[in-house]
């Protein structure tokens, strides 16, 4: 069908063959890596949101010591390169875990690459999420809080029914940015040896020497992921802004 294209562009045929989904093409491997990347990114984003919520609330309503500790956490994570944080957290984290297990008399456990990647990236995402959520919560007009108190709502109820829905549209741009950072940071896990898209690409390129082809294909896959995510976040933001003044 595309023979005329293959005829005028030599080398395209081999490139397409290399990328085919069935072995001996490497396309299937790349897609598996992309799925692994998405899994890690989703997990890390979720963990980051949880840490960020507690962090933001701690920074806004916690005591002075809590606020200072959280400030140290966010400053360190935002100043030290992710690659170094990943290495430190990976080695230190598994070491501490295995020491704890040994202290309790259990055999050290093997943490799968996906879980470790999620934990490590989640901690990095948590620092950024803390700042985004804190800014968003602070932007909710204080009058709404006071009105909720006047109605006799407890803190949890206030958060669930007043603060959270109001802050979500304000936080969404920052959160969508965080999601993009999460998907791109999964590439760094290739340097630590976790199986995800960038590592699969490097293995495929190394085995077949078709570096250009595979890196372009991986770039295209990442681009598809980010463009689709951007659309989804835009749709969520539009839905949550229903009824609000146009931006």
């Amino acid at each position: 069908m595309l023979d005329w294209l293959y005829a005028i562009w030599p080398g395209l045929q081999t490139s397409v063959d290399l990328l085919s989904l069935q072995p001996p093409g490497w396309g299937g491997n790349l897609l598996r890596g992309a799925v692994a990347s998405l899994q890690i990114a989703l997990g890390a984003f979720a963990v980051g949101l949880v840490i960020g919520t507690f962090g933001a609330l701690g920074k806004l309503h916690g005591g002075p010591v809590m606020r200072d500790l959280l400030a140290v956490y966010t400053v360190v994570v935002r100043a030290v390169p992710e690659l170094i944080l990943i290495l430190i957290l990976y080695y230190a984290g598994t070491d501490l875990l295995n020491q704890a297990l040994r202290a309790m008399g259990q055999r050290p456990v093997e943490i799968s690459g996906v879980v470790a990647g999620i934990a490590v990236l989640g901690i990095v995402q948590g620092a950024y999420a803390t700042e985004v959520l804190r800014g968003a919560i602070q932007s909710v007009p204080r009058g709404q809080h006071e009105a909720a108190r006047a109605f006799g709502m407890g803190p949890v109820q206030t958060f669930r029914r007043v603060t959270f829905p109001a802050m979500l549209p304000l936080a969404l741009p920052g959160l969508s940015n965080l999601w993009l950072i999460a998907t791109k940071d999964t590439a760094l896990l290739a340097i630590v040896g976790f199986a995800e898209l960038t590592l699969e690409t490097r293995q495929a390129a190394g085995s077949t020497r078709a570096y250009f082809t595979f890196f372009l294909a991986a770039g295209a896959l990442y681009l598809v992921m980010t463009l689709v995510s951007g659309r989804i976040f835009g749709w969520i933001e539009a839905r949550y802004r229903r009824g609000q003044a146009a931006q």
Partner: protein, 265 residues
């Protein structure tokens, strides 16, 4: 100076802060005495070279990237569609793919094309095409340009249109308007973001170690591999990056203060 010192003292000389500072100093002293640091003198020279390489890669890539970002932002904010659309496409692709992938594509991807063009080896550029730092500089600059192009687009759009119209009405030429009214105000509004982005660029520099550029991260990797010590080089490395990031943040704060002199709000 005394006012700054007074304010600093007010923040620090609070009971819980003093205790936390004491605990921090205690941890640092314990770390200094109980962990292994014997390798520092041996690798001191190499470390200084590595820090220098990190710093000049950072500075040069930010300058070149910013120089590319201004036309990219301008094209998207006010340009004809034939310029705006490629600029937007460039920024989208750069921001949508990981820097590591871009770096490897530029270094190994281009490298894999060299054997097909034997005349490259005779050309003048060959000594530069052989080394790794030009590719690292190119990738970092393109990445910075992609992100800052987006920032500058917003910055150029944020300057009130009325000022530009007034300048036009007074007969100022297009380039004069840009140089004296549009660009300075756009730069002023973008400066805080640019500071943050420069720190992000610093955090991206360790990746160049994967394409054989010896920056401070590569030196730490060599120490870890020669001595089999796992944590100490990484911790010292984190400290070095925190210091550099702090200096960048301080520099941009001073720049903002100076730039905002006489500005309202």
């Amino acid at each position: 100076m005394t006012r700054w010192l007074n304010r600093a003292a007010q923040e620090v000389l609070v009971p819980h802060r003093l205790i936390m500072i004491a605990v921090a100093i205690g941890i640092i002293v314990w770390a200094g005495m109980s962990m292994r640091w014997h390798w520092i003198p041996r690798y001191g020279d190499l470390a200084v070279q590595g820090i220098w390489r990190t710093l000049w890669l950072l500075a040069l890539s930010c300058v070149i990237g910013f120089a590319m970002a201004v036309p990219l932002g301008l094209a998207q904010a006010a340009g004809p569609r034939v310029l705006a659309i490629p600029a937007r496409a460039f920024c989208t692709v750069i921001r949508g793919t990981p820097l590591l992938l871009q770096l490897w594509l530029i270094y190994f991807g281009l490298g894999s094309l060299f054997p097909q063009f034997p005349w490259i080896r005779e050309s003048e550029l060959w000594p530069y095409l052989r080394q790794a730092w030009p590719y690292a500089l190119l990738a970092l600059s393109l990445s910075f340009a992609g992100y800052e192009g987006e920032v500058m687009r917003g910055a150029f759009k944020s300057v009130p249109g009325g000022q530009l119209e007034a300048a036009r009405a007074m007969g100022m030429g297009r380039f004069a308007i840009f140089r004296r009214i549009w660009f300075p105000q756009a730069l002023q509004s973008a400066l805080p973001t640019l500071g943050g982005e420069t720190v992000l660029q610093l955090k991206a520099t360790p990746l160049v170690a994967t394409i054989t550029v010896i920056d401070i991260y590569a030196v730490a990797s060599r120490v870890r591999q020669d001595t089999f010590i796992i944590y100490e080089p990484l911790l010292l490395l984190a400290l070095i990056y925190m210091v550099i990031a702090g200096l960048i943040a301080l520099g941009f704060k001073l720049l903002e203060q100076r730039y905002n002199r006489g500005m309202v709000g």
